[in-house]
Every structure is written in structure tokens, then in C-alpha cells.
């Protein structure tokens, strides 16, 4: 059984006229895959990622996570699955400004009933993995862009997710920092984490083992 299965997935934003952001996506992602999706602005990349991450629901089609039809389960259970299966990495980092790096990373697992001690241990381990153990007590304002994104990655991996969903992870970073983040992704993928990365940047897109192009709500192989 595949980890993620998207079958004729459609997402139409209601409106006048309705925006057909996803027009029938068929995609299967296996454990340990490294998937990149490129495409012009407005082609529906973020919409796809949100549907995969259960932040959004398809208008029609079937989406299975480890065999579970996500459209058939309750919202509460979808939230639980989201917490267990997915880690999100955003272009804008979304770190809480008044919390230290460690406290930001500790937010992972807060909605999956982990104890404070478990969350702290995992947070320190995750900061170690992204190479920032010395910045555990720093506030986000005192971190560089690359460091912020590493903290965000630490938060995404601290809960032990199956899949990392990354929306323009290097979009706010310079080239050197961007490359460092991509190297970190390679490392994480090497430990078995599945990666789905959305990007404008061809060099980032080229890192993936399975490369796709999004055009007008339709997905096609890049090669």
C-alpha cells in the first residue's frame, strides 16, 4: 500500500467565477519518496500541498493516507492524522515571536497528547538534528533567516512525521542558506522521511528524485 494516494483530485474554490485550482490530480507517493513540484504562480501548487497536508479538503476525488480515506473521517480525526503524519515548512517560517527556538519546536506534538517532558526531549533532539542546539534559547528575532528556517524544520520533524510538506522552503533565503537547507532535506530523506517540496527554483526542484510540473491545476512529469 502506498503512503499517499491522490485519485482524480479536484479542488475548486467557490466564487464568481469559481477557481478550479486542482483539475484532477492523480499522484501516488511512497515511503521515502522525494517529490518536487514546480510551476508558475497561481498554478495550484500550494492548494495541492494543503490538500495533501489535510489543511484543505478536495471538492471531489479520493485522497488516502496509509490506506485511510481522509474524506470519510471526521475533522477531529483528520486533525489527529495531520499531527501524526505531516510536518509543515513554510516560506514565512511562522515561528511564534515571543517564544524561544526550543519553545517553538516544543509546539510539535502539543495536539497529539505528548507530555511536556516528551516534547522537550524531542525538541532538543530535533534542534540537534538541524544543527542548532546552541540556539535553543534564542528568540526568533535574534536568528538569521536560515536559522529561522532550521528551527521551523526542527519543529516539523520533532513530532516524528512520515512526510515533510514544504511550500517554498527556500523562498525567503539567499542561495547559500537555501543550499544548506536543501542539504538538510537530503539528510532527512536519507533517514526515511518522505519529502514533498514545492518551489519556483529549478535548482531546488532538481534535487527531487521524482520531479513534477504543475500547470493550470494539472500535474505532469518534469522529465
Amino acid at each position: 500500500m502506498s503512503l499517499l494516494e491522490l485519485d482524480s483530485l479536484v479542488r475548486t474554490y467557490p466564487g464568481d467565477p469559481p477557481v478550479r485550482a486542482l483539475r484532477g490530480i492523480n499522484l501516488t507517493i511512497e515511503h521515502g519518496d522525494y517529490v518536487t513540484v514546480m510551476g508558475p504562480s497561481g498554478s495550484g501548487k500550494s492548494t495541492l500541498l494543503n490538500v495533501i497536508g489535510l489543511l484543505d479538503q478536495p471538492t471531489s476525488g479520493v485522497y488516502r493516507v496509509a490506506g485511510t480515506d481522509t474524506t470519510a473521517i471526521s475533522q477531529a480525526r483528520r486533525a489527529g492524522l495531520r499531527a501524526a503524519a505531516f510536518g509543515f515548512i513554510f516560506q514565512a517560517f511562522h515561528l511564534l515571536p515571543f517564544r524561544s527556538a526550543r519553545e517553538n519546536v516544543e509546539l510539535a506534538g502539543i495536539y497529539s497528547h505528548a507530555t511536556a517532558r516528551q516534547r522537550r526531549e524531542r525538541a532538543l533532539a530535533a534542534l540537534e538534528r538541524v544543527g542548532l542546539p546552541h540556539k535553543a534559547n534564542a528568540l526568533p528575532a535574534h536568528l538569521s533567516g536560515g536559522e529561522k528556517q532550521r528551527v521551523a524544520i526542527a519543529r516539523a520533524i520533532a513530532g516524528g512525521p512520515e512526510v515533510l510538506l514544504c511550500d517554498e522552503p527556500t523562498g525567503s533565503l539567499d542561495q547559500a542558506n537555501g543550499h544548506a537547507i536543501m542539504d538538510l532535506f537530503d539528510q532527512l530523506n536519507g533517514t526515511g522521511i518522505t519529502l514533498v517540496v514545492i518551489t519556483h527554483d529549478p535548482t531546488v526542484g532538481a534535487r527531487g528524485r521524482r520531479r513534477f510540473v504543475m500547470l493550470d491545476g494539472r500535474l505532469s512529469d518534469a522529465d
Binding site: M1, L3, S46, T47, N50, G53, L55, D56, Q57, V65, A66, G67, T68, I73, S74, Q75, A76, R77, R78, A79, G80, L81, R82, A83, A84, A85, F86, F88, F90, A92, H94, L96, F98, R99, E103, L107, A108, I110, Y111, S112, H113, A114, T115, A116, Q118, R119, R155, G159, G160, P161, E162, G192
Partner: protein
């Protein structure tokens, strides 16, 4: 659609886990064995949050903007504080008033000529005490006045020669002394026989007795008043309802009239009536016609005006106003909590989106923001109540009153404030939970 109401209950969720398609799924490699039932990819269970974690998030959310939290609380502090202060001060004051206000005040009736006479006159007949005894509810009654135009008279021991003592002299029926609840240190109140015959008898107060060298066990003994000899039949210890009698000597009305003439314009006569509890009003109504059936309009009877009672009424009216004001302030406080929470939710849209991405359910978002407003309200209530207690204590100390505070109010005030906070947070929290995660995260 993205937003769904959470209708599924926890029990339904447990049964769904039995779904065979899910149990066959591969176990998640990163599953943490130490968590009781961690949601896994293979067996998705609803997102759950520990209470300790919720509290931590609530407090962290408040403490990240302490200044704003304090200002948000201010309305609750003032509203709850003024409510507790007002109820406490009025309870303290009315406790004091009921201590001042005795049964004596409530059972006294005074009868005077009204309008006041413009010549020396005694509008009350000699049998006034007997007449009033007919009224149901009367306990004792009699006439009294200050003799010698209110001026002092000379008193001295009958036998010793020496400087005379200047004292006040009063006329009083024995009934008036009983009505005034007079008590004696020694001897007796003069007899009705002595009164009827204008006998030269007198009572002296303990103070005057000391000045004249009379001891309480030495009565009856003679003294001289304005040169005339009188027999002291008793020494007055206390006259609660007519304390002025303690200033000097008291003579029977007929005796005083014979020696000093009619009551003067400056010191007119009046009748004091002691009634049974609750009968003062009725007795006052009947007294003028009973004393002077020929000319009842000449007299006015007043049951002792109890100024303390009026004070209590005024106070309760004022505190009612302040209580309404406190309520208004409390409502303003609630609105200010709601308003600040709306602002803070707009500022924290990305945070809300992030929390949803981390697995938060709508109820977790609602719980967090309701918790913040509830804590704001509760802390505001505790601070307001504490300040109010200080104010009550200050007022009581300044007035030398005993502070009286209803513990039910003290303990319920912070709870009320917390409830107000939660109610104020209801709308903003629900709004926060409705924010779409995808929109919150792209913002």
C-alpha cells in the same frame, strides 16, 4: 469543505478504530511508544491536547503582552472592585447603624404643643399619665420640663452651710421617669401621693449627689433648693431616654409648678411615652386626643424620628446607584476584553494557522482563547476584590466602624469575573476557530 462542525463524539471514534482496513496498515516507524495512545498514520485518532499544555499556552499567550493584559483587565478590576466595595461599605455602615439604633428609639413617643406656645403654659392636664394609660400599647407616660426658664438653681445640703451648687432643675411625673427608663442608685422615685400633694420631694442625679455629699444609701435626706427645703427620695443612676435629667435635680410636676410657676416659653413642657415594640405609631396617633379630647389639634405626637433609619435608606439608595454603575463598568470591562481579544486574534492569525497545521482542532483554538479571556477576567476579579477589601478596611478604620463583608460576595466575585471573561471571549474565540488554516498561513 474545509470548515466542518465537530459532531463526532469520542465514543464513536473508539469504535471506528476497529476498521480492518486501518489495522492492516503499516505501523508508523516514528511511533513513540511512551505516549499512551499516540495518533499514528496507521491508526488516526482524534487530535488531543493535555490540560497542562493548554494552561501553558494560555498563560504564555497572556504573558507575551503583559502590558496589554493589564490594560484589558482594568475594566474588570474596576467593575468587580467597585461592586465588592459598595456592597462591603454599605454592609459595614448598616451594621454600624443597627448597632446605634436601639429598641429605645423605636418605642419612644414625644408629645409637644405645636406650634410652640408664646406664653408660659402647661397644655397637659395633671392626669396625663392616667389618660395615656388607657391606650393599648402604652407602657408608661408622663410630663416633663426644665424649670426656672432653663436656668440653673442653687442647691445645698440642708444642714451644712457652704457654697451652694449650681444645678439644672427639672419637673417630671413619675410616669415620665418610668417612660424614660430611669434607674436608681438608691432610694425610690417619689410616690404618687407626694406628687398629688405637691410635696417638697426631689430626686438627684449621682453627680449632683456627690457634689452635695449625699450617698446613695443615705436617702431619704433633706437638701435646700433656692433656699427651700426638699426631701431627696432617690438618687438617679441613669435616664437613657432623657439623659439631660442627669444634670441636676428632678421635682414632681405639681411641686415644680408651685415653686417655679408654669413652664416658660424657652423651656416648654412635653410628654414622653414609652410604648411596646411596634406600637409607637399607633400610640402617637391616639395620644393628642387622649390627652386633650377638647383640643387635640393643640398637640403633636411624634414617634422618635430615627435619623439612623433614614441614613440607612439614603445609603442603600446611593449604593444601589453605585452597584448599577459597577455593573456598567463591568460590562465595559467585558467589551474591552472582547475587543482586545479580537485585535490579538487578528495579530495572531498566522499562529492560529500554524496551530491548525500542527494538528489543533477548532475546540483547541476556542479553548485557548477562552482560557485567555477567562484568566484575564478571573485575575481582574481577584485584583478588584482585593483592592475593594482594602478600601472597605480603610473606610471602616477611618469611621471607627467594624468592617463587615459578606464572604459569599468575596468568593463569588472572582468567579463572576471569570465567567464574564469567558462570555466576553466567546465571540472572538469562535471567530478565531473559524479562521481557515490555509488563509491564515498564506497571510
Amino acid at each position: 469543505m474545509p470548515t466542518e462542525t465537530e459532531t463526532e463524539t469520542e465514543t464513536q471514534i473508539e469504535t471506528e478504530i476497529e476498521n480492518p482496513a486501518q489495522t492492516q496498515a503499516q505501523p508508523a516507524p516514528q511511533a513513540q511508544p511512551e505516549t499512551p495512545a499516540p495518533p499514528t498514520v496507521a491508526q488516526p485518532c482524534p487530535a488531543r491536547m493535555r490540560l497542562a499544555a493548554l494552561w501553558f499556552e494560555i498563560l504564555a499567550g497572556l504573558l507575551q503582552r503583559p502590558g496589554r493584559a493589564i490594560f484589558t483587565m482594568l475594566g474588570t478590576v474596576l467593575g468587580i472592585g467597585s461592586f465588592v466595595a459598595v456592597t462591603g461599605i454599605s454592609a459595614t455602615a448598616s451594621g454600624q447603624i443597627s448597632a446605634d439604633f436601639t429598641l429605645l428609639d423605636a418605642t419612644t413617643v414625644n408629645v409637644t404643643q405645636y406650634p410652640p406656645p408664646n406664653t408660659a403654659t402647661l397644655p397637659f392636664p395633671a392626669d396625663t399619665s392616667k389618660r395615656l394609660a388607657q391606650i393599648d400599647g402604652e407602657v408608661a407616660a408622663g410630663r416633663w420640663w426644665s424649670v426656672n426658664n432653663g436656668q440653673t438653681v442653687d442647691a445645698q445640703p440642708a444642714l451644712a452651710s457652704g457654697e451652694p451648687v449650681k444645678v439644672q432643675a427639672f419637673a417630671a411625673d413619675s410616669g415620665a421617669l418610668k417612660a424614660a427608663e430611669a434607674s436608681l442608685a438608691g432610694g425610690n422615685i417619689y410616690s404618687e401621693f407626694a406628687e398629688a400633694h405637691a410635696a417638697r420631694v426631689a430626686l438627684v442625679s449621682t453627680a449632683v449627689a456627690t457634689q452635695l455629699g449625699i450617698t446613695a444609701d443615705a436617702v431619704p435626706c433633706p437638701i435646700r433648693i433656692q433656699g427651700q427645703q426638699y426631701m431627696v427620695t432617690g438618687v438617679l443612676k441613669k435616664v437613657p431616654a432623657l439623659p439631660q435629667l442627669m444634670l441636676g435635680v428632678v421635682l414632681p410636676a405639681a411641686t415644680a409648678q408651685a415653686a417655679f410657676g408654669l413652664p416658660s416659653v424657652n423651656a416648654p413642657a412635653s410628654v414622653i411615652i414609652r410604648t411596646r415594640a411596634g406600637a409607637a405609631g399607633v400610640v402617637a396617633q391616639q395620644a393628642p386626643v387622649t390627652i386633650r379630647p377638647d383640643q387635640p389639634k393643640l398637640l403633636t405626637a411624634t414617634s422618635t424620628p430615627v435619623p439612623t433609619q433614614e441614613r440607612a435608606m439614603v445609603l442603600s439608595r446611593v449604593s444601589g446607584l453605585v452597584a448599577i454603575l459597577a455593573l456598567v463598568v463591568l460590562i465595559i470591562g467585558a467589551v474591552s476584553i472582547a475587543n482586545t481579544t479580537m485585535v490579538s486574534i487578528m495579530e495572531r492569525t498566522a499562529e492560529i494557522g500554524l496551530r491548525r497545521a500542527l494538528g489543533a482542532r477548532t475546540r483547541h483554538i476556542i479553548g485557548q482563547f477562552l482560557g485567555e479571556t477567562g484568566v484575564l477576567g478571573a485575575v481582574g476579579g481577584v485584583v478588584g476584590t482585593s483592592l475593594a477589601l482594602l478600601v472597605i478596611l480603610g473606610v471602616a478604620l477611618a469611621q471607627r466602624w467594624t468592617p463587615v463583608v459578606d464572604p459569599r460576595i468575596v468568593f463569588s466575585a472572582p468567579v463572576i469575573a471569570a465567567v464574564v471573561g469567558v462570555l466576553a471571549g466567546l465571540y472572538p474565540s469562535i471567530r478565531a476557530s473559524r479562521i481557515e488554516p490555509i488563509e491564515a498561513l498564506t497571510a
